[in-house]
């Protein structure tokens, strides 16, 4: 066990965890930030996506001890003064979810995409999002939400 100081959602958080304990379990089980989800533990589904210094990162494959001195942002850290970000609002407006279990990871991946590319091409969107799985099949609505958040109301995808 090691004492680890993390910067999560703008706050310094002290935890005691094994050196190799994944950030995912530290967030969920030690900091009670359960918005970050376990989907596969293998970096294949994106449900556990968090932002580390702004980059979308699979928290299931990232040891918590490796992310000291950087900024970790989880889904719980996106709202500012109770206001949803444009990406969160767009997911809500497009009803871009069914069970919603993938939604945290989708929103964080899309948030990073739109910061790097405020008006992404279709291929940039697919490239950024393809690692995130939605088993309910809401991809067309998620794509519509990303378009909406980027300020483009006209979506290449019909509102299926």
């Amino acid at each position: 066990m090691a004492d680890i100081t993390l910067n999560v959602n703008g706050s310094a958080r002290q935890v005691t965890a094994a050196e190799d304990e994944p950030l995912l379990w530290v967030l969920r089980n030690r900091l009670n930030l359960t918005g970050t989800k376990y989907g596969c533990g293998e970096g294949q589904c994106g449900a556990c996506t968090v932002l580390i210094d702004g980059r979308p990162t699979r928290s299931c494959l990232t040891p918590a001890s490796a992310v000291t001195g950087v900024k970790v942002v989880t889904i719980e850290g996106l709202e500012e003064r109770g206001a949803l970000t444009p990406v969160q609002q767009a997911f809500l407006d497009e009803d871009a979810m069914q069970c919603g279990y993938c939604t945290s990871g989708m929103i964080l991946a899309a948030t990073a995409l739109l910061r790097d590319h405020p008006h992404p091409s279709e291929d940039q969107v697919l490239e950024a999002m393809n690692g995130n799985v939605c088993r309910c099949g809401t991809y067309p609505r998620i794509l519509a939400a990303i378009r909406r958040a980027s300020g483009e109301r006209e979506s290449a995808y019909a509102r299926g």
Binding site: M97, Q98, C99, C136
Partner: protein
Amino acid sequence: MPVDDLTTEANLHTIRDRVRAFELDRREFLRLCSGGLLVCLASPAGAQESGRAGRGSHRLPQEVSAWIHIDADGRVTVFTGKVEIGQNIRTSLAQSVAEELRVDFDAISMVMGDTDLTPWDMGTFGSRSTPTMGPQLRNMAVAARQMLLETAAQRWNVDAAGLVAAGGKVTNPKTGEALAYGAITRGEMLVGTVNGDPPLTPATDWQIAGTAVPKVRGRDFVTGKHIYPSDVVRPGMLFGKVLRPSGFNATLVSADTAEAEKVPGVQVVRDGAFIGVVAADVWTAETALAKIQAKWSVPQQISSQDLFAALQKGAGDDIPTSGSPSVSAALTSAEVKLAGQYTIAYIAHAPLEPRAAVAEWADGKLTVWTGTQRPFGVRDDLMHAFRLAEDHVRVVMPDMGSGYGGKHTGECAIEAARLAKSAGKPVKLIWTREEEFTWAYFRPAGIIEIRSGARRDGTLVAWEHHNYNSGPSSVNTPYTVPNPVTQYHEWASPPLAQGSYRGLASTANHFARETHMDELAHELGMDPLAFRLKNISDPRLAAVFHAAAERFGWGRQKSTVQRGFGIAGGTEKGGYTAACAEVEVDAGGKVHIRRVVQAWESGAIVNPDGLRNQVMGAIVQAIGGALFESIQFANGQVTNAHFADYRVPRFRDTPEVEVVLLDRKDLPSAGAGETGIVALAPAVGNAIFAATGKRLRSMPMAAGEISS
């Protein structure tokens, strides 16, 4: 907690979280919840019918109070054993109650899938929530509204027929007097019998039902606040892990747990062949589990390569190889005859949230929060496993991370409960992805054989359809043909655990039938749509084919070597659907589904946005089974139990999808969670044929690439 706080909570869906802190029984809960509780005995015909439909000795309660209560502030709590798994039923059922009770949608909160609080329910499957729970709750709401009108009438000493219930209050239009529902029920137990069978509001008059009300508490899903089963936390909770056998049907030879027990803070739990560990954190539990040295004896078992040969042998014995004599006779009048064999692989549900449970024992009573489509079924499982009385087990189902028919069973709940019993503390157990892929159950594989005959003008004259193992759902053809023979044949000893799946065998049987119909159309030299329409007498089925074809522009473009168009459709569980697909096969033989238009009709639409979402999602999910999902197994092990090896549909696989909804306000609402999945695979296969001339008769169709 003061009553006011609890009643405030009653309008929120976190109600169950608060209630469980008290370990209340239902009567206590109702007492705390309600300044004034509406209780009336209703005898609407619909309720009795639903009661009889219950399985075994379960008779659904006929008191309105079991389903609906209204507190002093007019807030309405609805109780149902149905569960929310992403299909949006929490929202659509609330719409139906708000509609019949004449209250604002926001006045309703739903308590769902809690065996201590809600009436018994068989489970959330089979697309039954909308057609059975919908009318059940609507009947109860109508009865409650009638009671409110009659009570207000007594108070004002007027005839109830002259009063109006709307917006959560009863108004007398003549005097302008008004009483809010909460004021009518306050401080009184209203007991009475509703006479007759008050009519339900026709869909043409709906104000709240039939509209695109947004998902309730949608904001919690975009902020990470929603609590899924795997997110539940209890005071002092530990984390569990369970040792898995090295293969199916294995027996434990030996297990050395000494090294695991040396890990600080770890407790090993052994009960026969059940071995698990608990620790204060999940990483320590995983580390300890890996230190257990176990030897298993695994019997020799068939592999996926041998599957269809074994299936043919195991399930096909009762079939005369020549087929049914009556169909043979009918075939003598056929000018075109065809026979085909189709196969479907085992696939996994792979819900993104794996099985999860938190189990807690207190004073001999077991409470388990778990993700399941059958909370009452899991309660029965737990009662059986631990020899407990019904009132000593409570199962609570927080809205979970989907199921698709894959979470009917209670293994994870039982395992968590067993660990918690030894640990003396609450235990959380979340299955790994590999466990979910291996130790859950699968959509059954199957072989389907069809032979058919038609006259040159396209009239079907003979039809015989045998399904081996995959299931009977949709085994019957919806096309008009005299004396068809359709049969399902069980396989007594399948190699994998088989169970429910979205649409059940309907996908397999539609794939076989709609592919076969396409083959027949090509043999006859007819347009596949025209051939189908010639043999359809059900106007609802014809309507979805027309609607899909029209929006798609069917027939406007001819298929080419690169680009093919396919059509397929059918009906199941009261839903009608037809899909048109445009498919591109690139130079490397890779299949790209470019565009799908699917028409859907399931009676009166309760929530068009939720319905559109369900049908669209079913289309996208169907791509996996159609093109690449397949469980591989050998020697009692699943060999592709990871998302890296088991390919599911992703963003890049997603075509342009358009859903055309037909709203039949004159027909009862049917369920829509499942049947939207059935048309995609045959429509895509038929499109691949149109482009390449290659007929694909096995799902998945493009696990490799299409060879030219």
